[in-house]
Assembly symmetry: C2
Homo-oligomer: 217 residues x 2
């Protein structure tokens, strides 16, 4: 969230989310805040996201463990997307380290272990989803196999070049939130920004719909 341009950026964000909820009540608002802090701070971050901003879901970082995620889950009607496999260049530095799977004794990458913990240990009320980048369809497929039908938030199409049909196939065509940010936000820096952003957003949506249609046959 780039909220420092103005001292009133928080108020602007409140107003924007409120507008979306009023005009488009079927569209969930996900705060991509990537929070990760101790329980007492997380409790306040959860208040900020869900009470102040009235967001429907938030993204969180798993490095500090379950008690840094639990306060968000106290809001029973809200969603929590845990960072699992991120699509940035350094995403592999930590997430690709091999750790042992207790059941099979085999080694699996850390992101797969996070998918296991999130789906098997942390998700008592079905509020958790995972962030898995679109730049690695084979990894989306691996996560999908671990987590069953859990929702996956998938950034990395658009500016980051992820392939929509490959993403849809890897995610088995359902419970996917495929996200394009910069390709739409920066569609034009000219006076035609609104129409260009709209055009790119609609194109992206149509590509996703087409890919789902093809996948589901």
């Amino acid at each position: 969230m780039h909220t420092f341009a103005s001292a009133h950026a928080e108020t602007q964000l409140e107003n924007l989310i409120s507008y979306i909820h009023e005009q488009y009540p079927h569209i969930p608002v996900i705060l991509d805040a990537k929070r990760g802090d101790i329980g007492s701070t997380a409790t306040h971050y959860a208040m900020e996201a869900f009470e102040r901003y009235q967001a429907d879901a938030i993204t969180v970082n798993p490095y500090m463990g379950f008690d840094s995620i639990e306060p968000y889950l106290a809001y029973a009607d809200k969603g929590v997307f845990v960072l699992c496999r991120t699509s940035n260049p350094g995403g592999s530095d930590i997430q690709f380290l091999e750790v042992q799977d207790e059941k099979t004794q085999k080694f699996i990458p850390l992101y797969a272990k996070v998918a296991q913990m999130a789906s098997q240990q942390w998700n008592a009320n079905g509020q958790i989803g995972l962030v898995v980048g679109a730049t690695f369809p084979e990894e989306i497929s691996r996560v999908r196999t671990i987590v069953g039908k859990m929702p996956l938030l998938i950034p990395g199409i658009g500016a980051q070049g992820g392939d929509i049909p490959a993403t849809v196939q890897a995610g088995k065509g359902e419970n996917l939130l495929i996200n394009s940010s910069r390709a739409i936000l920066y569609a034009s820096s000219d006076t035609n920004f609104a129409s260009e952003a709209r055009r790119v957003a609609i194109e992206t949506r149509n590509s996703i719909r087409e890919a789902v249609k093809v996948y589901l046959g």
Copy 2:
């Protein structure tokens, strides 16, 4: 940072940090923001921390890898403390997973691997430090062995119960920033807040000085 109580919380924080720099120029200000996001967002978070707030250092989360940390290092006179071993109850969930050390082929906990990467791969200009909780002195000792004289930011004394002499010994008595937050912030909720907070802060400082004196003999 609990900055949502007022729409002007950012301005208050700017003023507070500015006041500290004016009155106590020898005291570094560390923003415990625990940021962790892709490079383009990290660039803006770095601007927020170092240009807007004029902080001297920031804490960051390593889960997204080096390119999520690099933009902060572009500010050559600023410090970056990478979360390594955190003192919260769930800190072990992820940080204690065993990963392979390429050199020795032995397995080491993830936090030790993060200490290796931060000190041997990421710290080209000597700007990096690590966050290692005081509740686990034997782990501070392990990290100190890996990273040499790198600065360690050590939360967990005070409210979280970490032992000051054990912490100082484990950290070898130097390049330690031992932090107490809640024990001072919540020293009193009464009208004597200022004097109580001052008393606890001075007591804590004296305990640290005494422990360093004893350790260094």
